[in-house]
Amino acid sequence: MQDINSSAVKLVIAGPVGAGKTTTIRTLSDSEPVSTEMPMSEPAMGDKTTTTVAFDFSTVMLDDGQPLFIYGLPGQERFEHMWSIVLEGAFGVLLVLDASDERLQEECEGWLAAIEKIAPGTPVVIGLTKTDLLAKPDLRSLRANLAEQGLVLPVFSFDARDKAQANHMVRALLASID
């Protein structure tokens, strides 16, 4: 596996379990994403123990053959200390959230705060999945609440299984940093 902290072009797909990260990465990728493992030291009971953490990884080839590396940022709390490694040098984060999750608002705020704390200033776009499963889709509350906090960023509802829509999320990210 390539060195995660090299000067590679890096895009991070973040979000809680089940939101649609792996699906998004698969949809964006030319090839099947791999679930890769990374050794992690974690302080536990005063001892240093080593554990491995699994996360999604895939590549997309840019025009001249330069690879874009796409990483899935796993949501489990206990792996938070690996976030800084994954987020290091990423040009942006696509935060994938399940629109049908009752805790959508808290999840969103928690993730945004964590990303801002660990990698301040990283551009973020929010992709809401599974709006097709909602009987009464509310496409606005989350966006309006963020705007009230002065956060004006793309909040798009998309289907992680749809290639054109997943691509459009990356466009939104690029447009917002251009």
Partner: protein, 317 residues
């Protein structure tokens, strides 16, 4: 009131339009049923103006005092004096023609509700709505003759009786005469529903050239439009990104997006009709300018490569 309408014209498109128009008579408390002409008693007949069969039915109907609407290829209008209508006249004109023929008043179904209306006779529908939604608004119904749209700004959805009516309505939003009223509970609750943002942006693009230039100075984008389900809308994405960065000059926004100012203007009318643009005086917390993190930005060449790979500068077809 039930009315029995008999049809003696061919063509799937035309039949469909007549069915839609008959359905929209409901807004005027008329249940219209469409059946093929068979020479028996009916409330009105629809025939082709330019064929012999149509002429024969017209003669017969005149003797029996059955009102007849004749469909012509000559124009796209309705002429009440000759009771002819252009085949490709918009849906609302068909509704108006049927009402005229049936001697029914072309009144909104619930005139008492029309108090909240801003009935601005010459203003295109999309601008009437844009003005209403530049302030916080409850749910609205906008109607042109029988064509009705339910606007729900709180959930970001728009409703109509069916997807066909929705499409027709989009084509009519450049026209004046729309009436706006507050929605009474459950208006259009069972119809077809779409994203308000995407619907209005498409309407704005469709009618952009016919609308006045959007007054962008003094306005501010409150939220990004939700374009997730419309990956073909690339230029609106770029226009939104420029507004988010604080651009207020329409010419400049158009230039940076690589489109004509009228197109940018149409997109902006769409944004405002979806409630995304507010007057700037309204003191909302200004967006955090993301702490400049130029070290994070991909180098220019790299950005171009990413943009090319994901189609950011691709022209909408």
């Amino acid at each position: 009131m039930n009315v029995d309408i008999r049809v003696a014209v061919a063509g799937d498109e035309l039949q469909k339009r007549l069915r839609l128009a008959a359905g929209l008579l409901q807004a005027h408390k008329i249940e219209g049923s469409l059946r093929p002409w068979d020479g028996t008693r009916c409330d009105c007949a629809i025939v082709a103006a330019d064929d012999l069969y149509g002429e024969r039915i017209q003669d017969y109907a005149r003797r029996k005092q059955i009102p007849v609407l004749a469909i012509t290829r000559a124009n796209d209008r309705f002429d009440p004096d000759t009771a002819t209508i252009g085949e490709h006249a918009p849906l609302n004109v068909y509704v108006r023609a049927l009402l005229n023929l049936l001697k029914a008043e072309a009144e909104p179904a619930e005139p008492a509700q029309a108090t909240a209306a801003s009935v601005t006779s010459r203003t295109p529908g999309i601008i009437v709505l844009a003005q209403a939604l530049s302030r916080p608004s409850s749910d609205l119904v906008m109607a042109l003759d029988g064509v009705e749209l339910g606007i729900c700004p709180s959930t970001g959805t728009i409703r109509a009786a069916s997807s066909e009516v929705m499409l027709q309505a989009r084509q009519l939003l450049g026209q004046p005469g729309w009436q706006l009223r507050e929605a009474s509970g459950g208006a259009l609750a069972n119809g077809h529903s779409e994203s308000l943002d995407i619907f209005m942006i498409r309407a704005g693009i469709h009618h952009g050239e016919a609308l006045p230039m959007f007054p962008l100075e003094g306005s501010r984008m409150k939220c990004w439009p939700d374009l997730g389900a419309a990956p073909d809308l690339i230029e609106p994405l770029r226009v939104a990104s420029l507004l988010a960065k604080g651009h207020r000059d329409l010419q400049k926004v158009a230039g940076l997006t690589g489109i004509e100012p009228v197109q940018a203007s149409g997109i902006l009318w769409g944004f405002q009709a979806a409630g995304l643009i507010v007057p700037d005086q309204q003191k909302m917390p200004s967006p955090h300018p993301k702490t400049a993190s130029n070290d994070r930005l991909p180098a220019a060449g790299l950005f171009q490569k990413l943009a090319a790979r994901f189609g950011l500068f691709q022209k909408a077809s």
